[in-house]
Symmetry: C2
Subunit: 150 residues, 2 copies
């Protein structure tokens, strides 16, 4: 008879920790900037490399195309992102930050890093590197099970 203590079960611990962090971040973004996490992710990726289609954004953020569609629509609606025609394909558009969007990004980014610093504040640079590498390995070994092929 196998025994399993829930508190020792790593997938459970991982889920709890991740949910707590996400909840903290989500409520901060919402309160400070009226942004959802999915919207913030899009802004961050578009800021890095403007002129991406939603399909490319989905790959970059590992989010579902439905989520991307809704987040993009909200950002366009708020005037933070503009859609430009994609010369090569009329089904899609190139997304870029507007001036307002850029200003918001410049505002949010430092706060995001600050939040990260608070949550991972006790970690040394070496520990951060170790943790990041572990997440990579977990992500890779969990992916095969996962239907979504990000």
């Amino acid at each position: 008879m196998a025994t399993l203590k829930l508190d020792d079960f790593l997938p459970y611990r991982l889920s709890i920790a991740s949910n707590r962090v996400s909840a903290a971040i989500a409520s901060a973004y919402q309160a400070l900037f009226g942004l959802k996490i999915s919207e913030w992710r899009l802004v961050a990726v578009i800021a890095e490399g403007p002129g991406m289609t939603q399909q490319a954004l989905g790959l970059a953020t590992r989010m579902d195309k439905v989520t991307v569609s809704r987040a993009a629509a909200a950002l366009v609606e708020r005037g933070l992102v503009a859609r430009q025609p994609n010369p090569g394909d009329q089904r899609s558009h190139m997304l870029a930050l507007t001036t307002t969007g850029r200003a918001l990004y410049d505002d949010v980014a430092p706060k995001a890093l600050e939040l990260e610093a608070r949550v991972f504040g006790g970690f040394s640079p070496k520990e951060i590197a170790t943790f990041r590498a572990m997440l990579d390995r977990i992500e890779a070994s969990a992916a095969p099970f996962d239907p979504e092929q990000g």
Copy 2:
């Protein structure tokens, strides 16, 4: 102008890794046993220490009382869990596994450990301990922001 590469942002990486693992586990439980993660968590905790109220289960699994209520109802409905009167308080019940429920648990637990082993297979015992300790710290430092208090 702060720059933030999403792929380097730890809360993002944590969320992605956790979601992948959860999705893998959820679909396995669903396919093999018809259990949701919340239901499985309840079964695991009740197996460890029978005779808990839903309130205690919520604390042990860190799940919302609504989630616990629904998971418990589903398990009772399926005959895996039985409610016994709580002599000290008529608002609540003591939950325990039925014989069927115990049999299911004995069936699920090894599979759960197997899945965990597959996802964390590349980790040495020392790495597992390190990772667990890091999750503890993250959980602790994210909790203060989080409205839900255990």
